[in-house]
């Protein structure tokens, strides 16, 4: 059943506070603080100089912290290891995107006769 109601997708519009992130993603505040302090996610400004109550997280940060939590829990990683894994995964992802974009362009130039 599809309702006829149309839901509009919006970008960025709203952000999550630390408390909301804990509640709505069943995350531990200590874990979120550790992620912010190690630079895994941004808290919308200079986190170190802002009170935690003013931290704001974007939707992209929310997905990233979920990924961090999955990796840490499922692979039983320490914080340092998790930061390294996330950095390397980011790099792999951007290299993959670049390779696929370059391959695509190469298709227009190379062909066997």
């Amino acid at each position: 059943m599809t309702s006829n109601e149309i839901h509009e997708l919006v970008e960025g519009m709203q952000e999550w506070s630390l408390l909301e992130l804990c509640q709505r993603h069943l995350l531990d505040a200590d874990f979120i603080v550790a992620c912010v302090e190690s630079g895994i996610i941004e808290a919308g400004g200079l986190a170190a100089t802002m009170p935690q109550a003013e931290w704001r997280f974007s939707a992209a940060a929310v997905l990233r912290i979920e990924k961090a939590r999955r990796l840490q829990r499922d692979l039983e990683l320490g914080l340092g290891e998790m930061v390294l894994v996330l950095d390397l995964l980011d790099e792999v992802e951007s290299l993959r995107a670049e390779v696929s974009s370059l391959r695509k362009r190469l298709q227009h130039w190379e062909h066997s006769s």
Binding site: M1, T2, I6, H7, L26, V85, S100
Partner: protein, 316 residues
């Protein structure tokens, strides 16, 4: 329901030590974790491995599992039903973890979630629902122009006993024009249900763009390779090229080279700033040339003195 062979899933023997089980889990988790693995069915495989580990790592659960297994409960045709009066002494709670273990797991160790979550807040039971994630694949044109799509999303639901189950919900969604690859959009109130008067969570949607047959995408920039004839670049010309907005006329300056890029500023994907559209020139030869055309080429060969490989010869 199907009896789960947890030892087989973890690729260990039934006498495996706690240490062996942990090692086996770590090895398989690295191989199949959906965030790192490129294996087909990684997600499904990882779920099974995680479930097997959940049971075998815990001595109490493992003992119960071994008992049921020894009773031959996997009996008739691989179908399993818990022994009559079976009640687990262990209890399964998860804190925001795996919420979808198999029916087999649930029949032995109980269900996760519901109560744990609903009482977690003590007296203030007022709690907003979970946010739910999904991906939406779009064609480049759809993302550029904006579109309406029907999405299927797996959302949690609370039943009358306060337990959480999942169902597939269909949603008609409107995607704004100029949506970029990897952007995260959201719909308010379409996530998990709230508790004690708390509002529902949101749906977060990550946009994935499909490859386009003509345009290659790099961030917000689009590139189109345009075949042109040798005399078109020699003399300069105006050609018509497709863009996401429709066809547009482009001037190729006289003397352009293969691989040369022409930039149509702001004609890429919209945004602030908008991306650019690049036309890359590719000089191609016509397929069949007449003997008269061949004679004209011979004339060119005599007239134009040039060596495109001069750089190599100097070094040799």
């Amino acid at each position: 329901m199907e009896f789960k062979e947890y030892y087989k899933l973890l690729e260990v023997g039934e006498k495996a030590s706690a240490d062996d089980i942990k090692k086996a889990y770590k090895r398989l988790a690295r191989k199949y974790h959906p965030d790192v693995s490129k294996e087909p069915d990684a997600e499904q495989k990882f779920k099974e491995v995680a479930e097997a580990y959940e049971v075998l790592k815990d001595p109490a659960k493992r003992e119960e599992y071994d008992q049921v297994r020894a009773m031959g409960a996997q009996g008739k045709g691989g179908r399993f039903s818990p022994p009559p009066g079976w009640e687990s002494a262990t209890h399964f709670y998860e804190g925001g973890g795996h919420s979808d273990f198999s029916d087999f797991f649930e029949s032995m160790f109980g269900r996760d979630g519901g109560f744990h979550r609903s009482y977690a807040g003590g007296q203030q039971m007022h709690m907003r629902g979970e946010d739910v994630h999904a991906e939406l694949a779009l064609l480049l044109e759809e993302a550029y122009q904006g579109c309406e799509q029907i999405m299927q999303v797996r959302v949690p639901e609370v039943d009358e006993r306060g337990l959480i189950s999942h169902r597939i919900k269909k949603l008609r969604v409107k995607v704004p024009a100029g949506t970029a690859e990897g952007s995260v959009l959201r719909i308010k109130g379409q996530g998990g249900p709230g508790l004690g008067g708390g509002g529902a969570g949101d749906l977060l949607v990550t946009i994935k763009l499909a490859e386009h047959p003509l345009f290659s995408l790099d961030g917000k920039n689009l590139t189109l390779v345009v075949p042109v004839l040798p005399w078109e670049v020699a003399l300069g010309c105006k050609i018509t090229v497709p863009t996401l907005k429709g066809r547009t006329r482009v001037s190729i300056p006289a003397g352009s080279q293969t691989g040369q890029k022409l930039r149509l500023a702001g004609q890429g994907l919209p945004g602030n700033p908008a991306g650019d559209f690049f036309v890359v020139i590719k000089v191609v030869m016509p397929d069949n040339i007449s003997s008269k055309a061949k004679a004209l080429y011979q004339g060119l060969q005599e007239e134009v003195v040039a060596n495109p490989r001069a750089a190599w010869e100097e070094k040799a």
